[in-house]
């Protein structure tokens, strides 16, 4: 049977296939992004029908704000710790769960993947209760002073409490990506390396790692983005408190825009966040792409 032809060139077909994606992207991303940039130069309160154009006043105000600077410090340290621990732990887990030495690999994989299917607010609220009701009892039992009270109520520990929960949930997807990456490494390279007398570490560094670079760069971008825009866990667990000690930029934007009726200011801060994330991602891709195995 002959395939049906309606007289379309290959180019038109390709164009039509990409069109829905482009439209969705434009309507849901580019549109809001540009209106956001527009509102960031106004003093709109999120409610009024009237507002004034104030150019860069919101940006100037943002940079002279002590609170914003404190939130940047929090967000950056959170992002660094999150990205570091998630990458390292998920890579270790992936290597372990890809190894033939471990039995019931699939069961373990499912177990470690499980947190990913839960919503982050749900996870936050569940851990909130664990931190309140369970951790202090364990801390008292073991005689650990720092853990004998709710860590989320302690400004020095609240960051780590939130970090722990986001790592717990955050390693699942990177782990799966790394396992997929590991399975794409051709076995004969290992065989050849073994014949040449390479150690396990050498094999990992010179064979496995180059194959993992594309995955690694995706994981890094995902996690840095997740860290810089973090919101749900903090909203569910501390609301930014105690005081301002766990307030992230994402939460500050939400509070300014929707809580304090300073929509223009919130929009300006989110534009700054957008620029920061874009810069990070570009730097990262251009750096890591040079190290990949399949760059010809």
């Amino acid at each position: 049977m002959q395939p049906l032809r309606i007289g379309m060139s290959k180019k038109t077909t390709h164009f039509l296939f990409t069109l829905p994606g482009v439209l969705v992207f434009a309507v849901l991303f580019l549109g809001p992004m540009f209106t956001g940039i527009y509102y960031s130069m106004t003093n709109w309160d999120g409610l009024s029908k009237k507002y004034n154009f104030i150019w860069f006043e919101n940006y100037i105000q943002t940079f002279s704000d002590v609170r914003f600077m404190g939130d940047i410090r929090f967000t950056l340290s959170y992002t660094f710790l999150l990205t570091f621990f998630v990458t390292v732990l998920s890579l270790l887990l992936a290597v372990a769960l890809n190894s033939r030495l471990i039995r019931f690999r699939n069961a373990y994989r499912s177990a470690f993947f499980f947190p990913a299917v839960l919503g982050s607010i749900v996870v936050g609220l569940i851990w909130n209760q664990i931190f309140y009701g369970v951790i202090p009892n364990i801390g008292k039992f073991l005689g650990i002073n720092a853990l004998s009270t709710n860590p989320l109520g302690n400004p020095n520990l609240a960051l780590y409490g939130i970090l722990f929960v986001s790592i717990w949930q955050g390693i699942a997807i990177p782990m799966v990506l790394f396992i997929a990456g590991l399975q794409s490494v051709p076995q004969h390279l290992y065989e050849a390396a073994t014949l040449d007398g390479a150690t396990i570490f050498q094999k990992f560094r010179d064979i496995t790692f180059p194959f993992l670079v594309p995955v690694l760069s995706v994981v890094l971008v995902l996690k840095i983005r997740a860290g810089l825009t973090t919101f749900e866990y903090i909203m569910a667990m501390t609301g930014g408190g105690p005081g301002f000690s766990t307030e992230s930029i994402g939460l500050l934007i939400f509070k300014q825009g929707f809580g304090n009726n300073r929509f223009g200011l919130g929009a300006a801060q989110s534009v700054l966040l957008l620029v920061a994330i874009a810069l990070f991602s570009i730097l990262q891709f251009s750096y890591l792409n040079r190290k990949g195995v399949d760059q010809q």
Binding site: N128, T149, G153, N154, G239, G243, Q256, N260
Partner: protein, 441 residues
Amino acid sequence: MQVGNRRVKMKALLILMLAILVMVLAACGSSNNDGNASPSSAAASPDSTPSASTQAAQEKKEVVELEFFQFAPVVPAFEAIIARFEEKYPHINITQNNVPDALKVLDMRMASGDAPDLFNLGASAAYRNYVQNGLIVDLTNEEFMKRVNPTALEMVDYEGKKYGMPGVFNMIGMYYNKKIFNDLGIDVPKTKDELIAAAEKIKAAGITPFVFPDKDVPMINRLDFQAYSGVFTDNPKQIFLDAMEKKTHLTESEVLRKSAQMYIDLRKYSENSLSISMQEGFNQFATGKAAMMPYINFAATVVRSINPELEFSEFPLPGDDPNAIRVPVGTGFQFAISSDSKYIEEAKMFLDFWSQPENAALFESKEMSPSAILGVPSTTKETELMRKYIDEGKTFQWPGERGHWSVSQLNDFATHAQALAQTKDVDKFLQSIDALFYGVK
């Protein structure tokens, strides 16, 4: 090698695309949620009683569907009044809509032109915004406004006009466990020193003297702090107004310094206040683990629902002088009508009905706050003592009540007060709030 390489490439590309897809989906999901938050909640309410409305429509031709949107956890109290109202006016069907985070949802709905017909604004600072944007109806000359207590009316005043009807008085006081007080032979404290002495005694008996739910409702920190400011001056509101006018700095205020010190001193007799959420605070108080808890009115209904057996009451916070004790009051509920509503007249009929003394009394018996309607007696024994001070006129207005502070001042003050519970640094606190108020209107 060549083939293997291409496969690797394809796989890497696939993973990359998958990751991008996940990112796109995640972002789509969130932006969708934001956009839909208001319409979906709006859609949920009018359709929630389809059978009732269609039945009514068959009997009478024109049925008015009125949405009453409100934030407070006292749904049954309102339902009781609505049932009475619908009995009297069968052609009006009122649907009560009570969603989580209602004041934010209300803001969104007002902004997107999807305002509910009638709503309860509470003490929300959004009142000022709504009035300035012409979103709510002027009720100044309505007949039913004459039934409202003048003190309460004054609190909803905006440039000589009233755009809302106050429903109840809101106040903050110290709830205390009567049994613990009786067992230890403690009288209701009349000065700060007596209060501290009582706390010492309770602590010695192995009971936590105070529970402060400081964790996730900084609003309570603000109200709690402001309650202390009123025991050292009869008009704490003026301190902040003066700072806004650039007359004095808040850092120079002896009243605020004393209030902050009291705020810190009392917390020495509580356990890990910053890790206790509102619900956990109620639980500790209702189960007798803690003897005292400062809170606003609706705590009474919640505590009673957790432990109906508990005998508790409430006293106003004492300061230096036993004769200068004052109750901080605000308006708890404030009914407002949307300017865009098709049924403004019907909404006014409901307010007229609600404010009739027998109906307001029914509400009081269920909601337990002193009514703002004249001639409605207080039947709630838990708030008897507070009521006595209100009747004697020993009250002061919360500094942040209504139009005086902006929304961001209200919210950020609350967070600074929460931070004070953590840092215990009075100077730093005063500097932070001075930056928030000095010269800012």
